[in-house]
């Protein structure tokens, strides 16, 4: 029936386009698009190896008089010991502000600001990144500062004092923001107490000194442990020569990464409730997931798109938001981390009285995708989305070079992008169901809620409380942010 109407409609349109144009258009299915070929750029054509084994992915892009260059260093918070937790945050602040042997931090910041350049440093879980952006006329000066910071940071005391003051001040508020509390506490339950979840306290921050930062830098910052990624207005060969000037004077050293246990606790399923006097419940429902190097990764991506990752086209959004008006933000997500399983979670934030109901709807969707095959239409939308949007990965040359550098750093296959579309195409309805069964376990769900207990527990018509209908309720107490101790 629907098809007939569309056809007639399209027919009319063709015949009388000239006169009917005032009010009607045709269904989008009737559009014919010209074919489009796109082949992704190949990492090998951008790869350079410079002095002392410093690697880089470098692309010339002459349309704007700018250069963006990043150094991705193979280190991160994962290697910070528990009693110095927060070292990564101090390092993030002080690599630049602490200056180098020959420049103060202020001098560096003043100079780059004067040139209209930017420089940023941040430390993540397993990679740290220093990024420079300068007008191409200032490239030489920019590079000089960039390598000085990478090779000779001094971590002056005044910068440490300021950084610690700032970090401790911000620490006071870390239990105030419900979404940050939720994501932090959820990970703590799933991963337990381990380097992935260590938290800084006032004491661990204050314990970090200049010698610690220097030692951390000395251990991880050397050419073979770094990959550069750069794009912009330069000549590639000339850039290589310029970089070699620095890299050739930069010695490598032996490095053994500390080994980190991959055994995580099996948390007791049920409700984990964190009290906060707010008018919504912030909710995560899930357990540990998988690594993105897992062969099932692509099937999981397609499955999650249909379940709750594909925004409005996904089941959870359609049900919880669009049908029921229960939430602005809801869905499901798989997170990934290098070398460790990520997390799998359904999420929603909804007013206190509908917390139980929203959770029950998400749980139903978990069951459904494990038990019923997805529809042809859902598969088509999901698969086409990944295929048709593929070129988006490469919109920004600077971003593309960073992506290539990350592939190599994490030891992923360098043909990841070349084979990407075939791997998406190979996902079938059966594989989607298989992935759902393998990576979603309703019997193991940790249902974490940050909200106001009484109204959440009371519920509403469609799902009257109490919350223990969803499983045993554990009341989780937040720690004092400054001391890391329980407070009443």
């Amino acid at each position: 029936m629907k098809k007939t109407i569309i056809l007639i409609f399209g027919f009319l349109f063709l015949f009388s386009a000239a006169s009917l144009l005032t009010a009607q258009v045709t269904r989008p299915e009737n559009l014919k698009f010209p074919p489009l070929q796109f082949e992704p750029p190949q990492p090998a054509s951008f790869r350079l190896v410079m002095a002392n084994g410093l690697r880089g992915y470098i692309q010339e892009q002459r349309s704007l008089p700018m250069v963006n260059i990043s150094a991705i260093i193979n280190t991160g918070s994962l290697y910070v010991p528990k009693d110095k937790a927060g070292l990564e945050a101090i390092l993030s602040e002080c690599l630049i502000k602490g200056g180098t042997k020959t420049r103060t931090g202020s001098a560096i910041e003043d100079r780059l600001d004067f040139l209209g350049g930017t420089i940023n440093f941040s430390v993540g879980e397993r990679t740290a990144t220093l990024s420079l952006s300068v007008l191409s006329k200032d490239l030489d000066e920019g590079l000089d500062i960039f390598f000085d910071l990478l090779m000779n940071p001094e971590f002056r005391e005044d910068s440490l004092k300021l950084a610690k003051g700032k970090i401790i001040e911000q620490m006071r508020g870390i239990n105030d923001n419900p979404s940050l509390v939720l994501s932090r506490e959820f990970e703590k339950v799933l991963y337990g107490d381990c380097p992935l979840t260590y938290e800084a306290t006032k004491a661990t921050v204050e314990a970090v000194n200049q010698a610690d930062l220097k030692a951390f830098h000395r251990k991880y910052f050397f050419p073979k442990n770094i990959i550069l990624a750069g794009a912009g207005d330069f000549n590639r060969n000339q850039l290589k020569t310029k970089i070699n000037k620095y890299a050739s004077k930069w010695a490598n050293q032996p490095l053994n990464f500390p080994s980190i246990s991959r055994n995580f606790p099996q948390p007791e399923p049920g409700v984990y409730f964190i009290q906060k006097k707010i008018n919504q419940g912030y909710i995560n429902i899930g357990h540990l997931g998988l690594e993105d190097t897992n062969p099932d990764y692509f099937a999981v991506q397609v499955m999650n798109f249909i379940l709750g990752g594909g925004s409005f086209t996904s089941r959870i959004t359609s049900k919880v938001r669009s049908d029921e008006g229960l939430a602005y933000n809801c869905g499901s997500r798989f997170t990934y981390r290098w070398g460790f399983p990520g997390t799998m979670a359904g999420y929603v934030q909804t007013k206190s009285s509908t917390v139980g109901y929203a959770i029950s709807l998400i749980l139903k969707e978990f069951d459904r995708i494990r038990q019923e095959p997805v529809s042809e239409a859902e598969m088509e939308t999901a698969v086409n989305y990944f295929l048709e949007s593929f070129a988006d990965f490469f919109q920004s040359p600077a971003r593309t070079m960073i992506n290539f550098a990350n592939l190599e750093m994490q030891g992923k296959p360098m043909n990841y992008y070349t084979t990407y579309r075939d791997k998406i195409k190979a996902v079938t309805k059966d594989k989607v169901m298989e992935a759902a069964k393998k990576y979603i376990h309703p019997d193991k769900m940790v249902i974490m809620i940050v909200g106001d207990y009484e109204p959440c527990n009371q519920g509403s018509d469609k799902f009257p409380g109490p919350l223990d209908r969803l499983g045993k309720v554990h009341r989780v107490k937040l720690l004092d942010p400054l001391t890391g101790q329980l407070v009443e």
Binding site: T22, D110, Q280, G325
Partner: protein, 495 residues
């Protein structure tokens, strides 16, 4: 209608932006313009390469076009634009419409009983609500869920979104370069044939969105600060609107809103990416050109009257403490704005005066910045300081330290190095903003709706002419107590 006979203006702006100083590079910003006979303007920035096109539509409407009672409408409307049209999102329009009319009638009765009466009849309300629920259930079989969104997605649409600000509402998608026509079709359709299905559950979604904001530490206080600062102008309320209005606004209000503002002469489309302008122009004529021109839209009437008094506010709640100083400044395009913008730059950032003085020297704060926000009708210059509690810094001490910095500028202006640094930063950040096709579309599109996209270039030129004396002058003119609001927020775990 024969398109070839239509009067169209096809302008090509080819701009060579030559940066001052020796050894400086040259930047080109090439924007092609095409004006349709119904007044809609098409802007195009071709960027050959990756076969993607950023396709944005901007309407000259935002929360400043609302009035008390309908606050939040521009944003509600933006949500409704995803709820279908007479063609999209529905299998049988006539049947669906019949149900919708019944739902609307019942909901109007409910609203009157609930909101017009002091003691509405709860039993009646419950009964009508039951009928509404039944009808809504019956309607589901005609609804194609998120049809427009799904269509964009399966055609590789990314950056799919919409946003509402005080002044502008934008609809965004990035598509493969062979599929620009899809965006024209869908956007023309919803401009012309919008049909607000599931209006009432969507309002619930928006109330949840407001609650999300409310649960952000400091939100309630900042909402009040803004309301206190803008006493008369419609910048008084937040884009999300007051909760009461979200509850009570009707579908009729929104239809009226649509008909007034969603007309081609109040919109522009902008394309950035890998395409041929002639092809885009031909498609635009076919799709957008077919939409009848609407009535002219009156600019916002109420500006912000002079304050003639100092305002002070104190608040407590979760989140970081803050000391804010707000000053009224003229709107975008005023001759004082370039000096105010540069002053904000000189005061802010890691190497700015506020950070050097309040954070590094006096150790009173952990963050200190200033912002110049001219806006379209009434501007604000704000100082925002996060005091350092460990030091026991009193908010009033912090406030005093800000005034000391202001007084220095009033007395001595700024140094030539500071001025040049601020100019270089502004210019470089402009060049940087040309890098991302999406931000470029946003920047050029929004500028077009206010003073024309060329203002981006003329503003740069005006900025370069600013002197230290100009900055001294604007500081003296605007940074006075009778033009200020001071807002002090401290941490408490109360609410």
């Amino acid at each position: 209608m024969n398109f070839k006979k239509l009067m169209t203006v096809f302008l090509t702006g080819f701009f060579l932006l030559v940066l001052a100083g020796p050894g400086r590079a040259q930047v080109q910003l090439e924007v092609k313009e095409h004006v349709l006979p119904n007044g809609m303007k098409i802007l195009m920035i071709p960027k050959p390469g990756v076969p993607r096109v950023v396709c944005h539509i901007y309407y000259k409407v935002g929360s400043i076009n609302e009035r008390p009672g309908t606050t939040g409408s521009a944003h509600i409307h933006e949500h409704l634009m995803f709820k279908g049209t007479k063609m999209m999102g529905v299998t049988d329009y006539a049947a669906d419409e019949a149900l919708n009319r019944q739902i609307d009638d019942l909901m109007n009765k409910i609203y009157r009983e609930k909101y017009w009466k002091r003691d509405g009849d709860q039993a009646k309300i419950a009964d009508w609500q039951k009928q509404v629920d039944e009808l809504a259930k019956a309607e589901k079989k005609y609804i194609i869920k998120d049809d427009l969104w799904g269509t964009y997605m399966k055609n590789g649409g990314t950056g799919l979104n919409a946003s509402t600000s005080d002044e502008v509402t934008g609809y965004y998608v990035t598509l493969p370069s062979n599929k620009v026509e899809l965006q024209m079709l869908l956007e023309a359709d919803r401009m012309m044939n919008a049909y607000f299905r599931e209006f009432y559950s969507e309002k619930d979604v928006i109330m949840e969105e407001r609650r999300l904001s409310e649960n952000q530490p400091g939100y309630y206080f900042n909402e009040q600060v803004r309301a206190a600062f803008y006493a008369a102008s419609p910048y008084h309320w937040d884009v999300i609107g007051w909760m009461d209005d979200l509850k009570k606004v009707t579908k009729e209000d929104l239809i009226e809103f649509h008909n007034k503002y969603y007309v081609p002469n109040n919109a522009i489309a902008i394309y950035v990416g890998d395409f041929k302008p002639e092809a885009v122009v031909a498609l635009a004529e076919k799709y957008f050109g077919a939409i009848p021109q609407g009535a002219e839209v009156e600019p916002v009437r109420t500006g912000e009257p002079p304050q003639y008094s100092e305002k002070r506010m104190y608040g407590q709640g979760p989140g970081m403490p803050s000391v804010q100083l707000w000053f009224h400044i003229p709107p975008d395009g005023d001759q004082d704005i370039p000096a105010l913008n540069l002053l904000a730059s000189i005061l802010s950032g890691e190497t700015g005066r506020l950070n050097k003085s309040l954070v590094k020297e006096k150790d009173l704060a952990i963050r200190a910045m200033a912002m110049s926000r001219p806006q379209w009708y009434a501007g604000a210059f704000t100082f925002n300081i996060v005091p350092k509690l460990q030091k026991g810094a009193k908010p009033e001490e912090v406030e005093k330290a800000v005034w000391e910095e202001i007084d220095k500028v009033k007395a001595d202006g700024v140094t030539p190095e500071e001025l040049q640094k601020a100019k270089n930063k502004t210019e470089a950040s402009f060049i940087r903003s040309l890098e991302s096709p999406m931000f470029l579309a946003m920047r050029v599109g929004r500028a077009e709706l206010n003073r024309g996209w060329r203002s981006l270039l003329t503003d740069l030129e005006d900025m370069k002419k600013v002197t230290s004396d100009d900055i001294k002058k604007v500081a003296a003119k605007y940074f006075v107590k009778d033009n200020s609001l001071v807002a002090i927020y401290s941490r408490s775990q109360g609410r």
